[in-house]
């Protein structure tokens, strides 16, 4: 088991491996040999790393409840405000349990298969040996932190990803259908993608040499494409796009944005799994990308519509945060600013022009921001890793071209895998219990029709 834990910590720190090829290679060799003495020596708890990772986990949970919940809830009409909050909250609970039952095992167990040379099942998904976390004790250590914390940290990613999807089908999807979809999707889509990206050196994306420090593919593209598929299958909201559906409470949305921004340090700098210089750089580039994208978005609005808007600023910030996510372990200061600017522009187009042209009703722009921002970020990660652009540098085997290619593979793979499976899951739910509430219920608002509650009695 120790050996496996080493793999895990190695993969999660693949970035540093890429910068220090010699060390990386030797560790890989150790992994292959299952050289457990040194492995044990390495798996010693560090209180500083542990302190940081406890907090990082708390921060990422904070991103979902209340962060993302508020961000989304402010954007819907007031008759649906509670339904959005309820979806995020219940998904939090549901995903927590699922993660411990079998999710963590499917994502991070690395039984025999990954040590073999050729592609095997283990490159795509984990086994069931960690089911119910039976192996876990207070003494289990993963890298330099307690394994319980590693499980918690990864759990918070497992929670936020399906919560992001909720933005696409807000204001019309059945609560029961959402819970069923989420449960299946997490195990069938999220866990494998997570495994392919982060479970260690035998995993698919790792073989390709993909850089995804904090979840560009695993979280954002994965959620974004599922969101797009979902909003197309669920259909447009009644009245869309003729009837305007302005946000009912932008103060709530911007509060949520602030929480997301702050929480994102847990997400990105936490993905280093340690309190060190790379975590520091990850924090700094996260801040800069968010800032640059915010300014970019409102600058575009200012030029195009004559006025900068708060919703624009908030959306821009999220776009920048999404884009830097996969690059947060490798990009430097100039790269971060550039990625912020580019994601600001591209997501603006995604959430406005493209959406209008395509005609889909991605209510809160889950695809427009997370999907598109995720793709932009994943690809650019390969570019801004270049030392000439201030990045941490490529692995010995990669050039910018080959890295961008590797990144693109992972993007396309994730789009296809998540897109197709999301489609299948949703279709099955649609023909069985149905995805959508009745027209009357939609008119009345989901708060009353699905939860028999009212948001505000001021």
């Amino acid at each position: 088991m120790k050996t496996k834990l080493v793999h895990k910590s190695v993969s999660s720190r693949m970035w540093s491996a890429l910068k220090q090829p010699k060390w990386a290679i030797s560790v890989m060799m150790l992994g292959l040999l299952g050289f457990s003495t040194l492995a044990q020596a390495q798996d010693t708890l560090d209180t500083g790393d542990t302190a940081w990772m406890i907090v990082a986990s708390a921060l990422v949970l904070f991103m979902t409840i209340p962060g993302l919940s508020l961000f989304y809830a402010g954007l819907v009409r007031s008759k649906n405000v509670l339904s959005v909050l309820m979806q995020c909250f219940t998904i939090t609970a549901l995903a927590s349990i699922l993660w411990c039952v079998v999710g963590y095992s499917l994502a991070f167990s690395t039984l025999e298969s990954q040590t073999s040379e050729g592609l095997s099942l283990g490159a795509f998904v984990g086994g069931l040996d960690y089911a119910f976390l039976n192996h876990l004790t207070a003494d289990s250590v993963s890298g330099t932190i307690p394994e319980a914390i590693f499980i918690m940290f990864q759990m918070t990613f497992f929670i936020i990803t399906p919560a992001l999807i909720c933005g696409a089908f807000a204001e019309r999807m059945k609560f029961s259908a959402i819970l069923i979809f989420t449960s299946i999707w997490l195990l069938v889509v999220y866990a494998p993608i997570c495994h392919m990206a982060w479970s260690g050196e035998g995993a698919l994306f790792v073989r390709w040499g993909v850089l995804d420090f904090a979840g560009g593919t695993v979280v954002h593209i994965n959620a974004g494409i599922a969101a797009l598929v979902a909003c197309m299958l669920v259909g447009k909201r009644k009245g869309y796009p003729d009837k305007p559906m302005p946000p009912h409470n932008l103060t709530m949305t911007v509060t949520g944005t602030g929480m997301l921004w702050v929480g994102w340090f847990g997400f990105n700098a936490g993905s280093e799994l340690a309190a060190d210089g790379t975590a520091g750089m990850a924090m700094l580039v996260t801040q800069l990308s968010a800032a640059a994208a915010t300014l970019t978005w409102i600058a575009i609005e200012w030029m195009k519509h004559g006025k900068p808007s708060l919703l624009g600023a908030a959306t821009g910030a999220v776009a920048g945060l999404v884009a830097i996510t996969p690059a947060s372990g490798t990009a430097g200061v100039p790269g971060a600013i550039m990625m912020g600017v580019i994601s600001g522009i591209v997501c603006f187009l995604g959430a406005t022009t493209l959406k209008k042209m395509a005609g889909w009703d991605d209510s809160l722009d889950a695809f427009g921001v997370h999907g598109i921002g995720g793709i932009v970020g994943a690809v650019l990660t390969g570019v801004f890793c270049a030392p000439s652009l201030g990045g941490a540098g490529f692995d010995g085997e990669h050039t910018m071209g080959s890295q961008v290619l590797a990144q693109s593979y992972s993007v396309i793979f994730t789009l296809l895998y998540s897109g197709i499976l999301s489609f299948v899951i949703l279709k099955v739910i649609d023909v069985t219990i149905g995805l959508r509430v009745s027209k009357e219920a939609e008119g009345q608002g989901l708060d009353l029709s699905e939860h028999e509650e009212t948001g505000y009695l001021l």
Partner: protein
């Protein structure tokens, strides 16, 4: 007795109230309403989706007055609420049969002063 009902722009309420006090009105009731009329809302844009609010926030002011005062009251409101652009508002005058002051039980005119 008449009820004078005016739909005005919210930021004019203060001026209108002062004007009414000047002509001797002692009470009035205000409701926040949404108005539809010639005045169209300004385009608000949310993530690129344009949104012209058809209904604008307006303030409805109701004041019940004795017949002799009606004209003065209408004029006072009208002067104070005037703006150059569309949407300045409307005033409706309608009959009221009786007024009662709950506290004292007074009826009619007496209930107004």
């Amino acid at each position: 007795m008449k009820k004078v009902e005016a739909i005005i722009k919210p930021f004019k309420l203060d001026d209108v109230k002062d004007a009414l006090l000047e002509v001797g009105v002692e009470g009035m009731t205000i409701t926040e309403v949404r108005g539809f009329g010639r005045q169209k809302g300004r385009v608000e844009i949310y993530r690129g989706a344009e949104f012209v609010p058809e209904f604008l926030t307006k303030t409805k002011l109701e004041v019940v007055v004795d017949d002799p005062l009606v004209e003065k009251v209408v004029e006072a409101i009208s002067n104070a609420a005037k703006t150059e652009d569309v949407g300045a508002g409307k005033i409706f005058v309608s009959p009221v049969d009786d007024v009662l002051r709950i506290r004292t039980g007074e009826h009619g005119k007496d209930a107004l002063h």
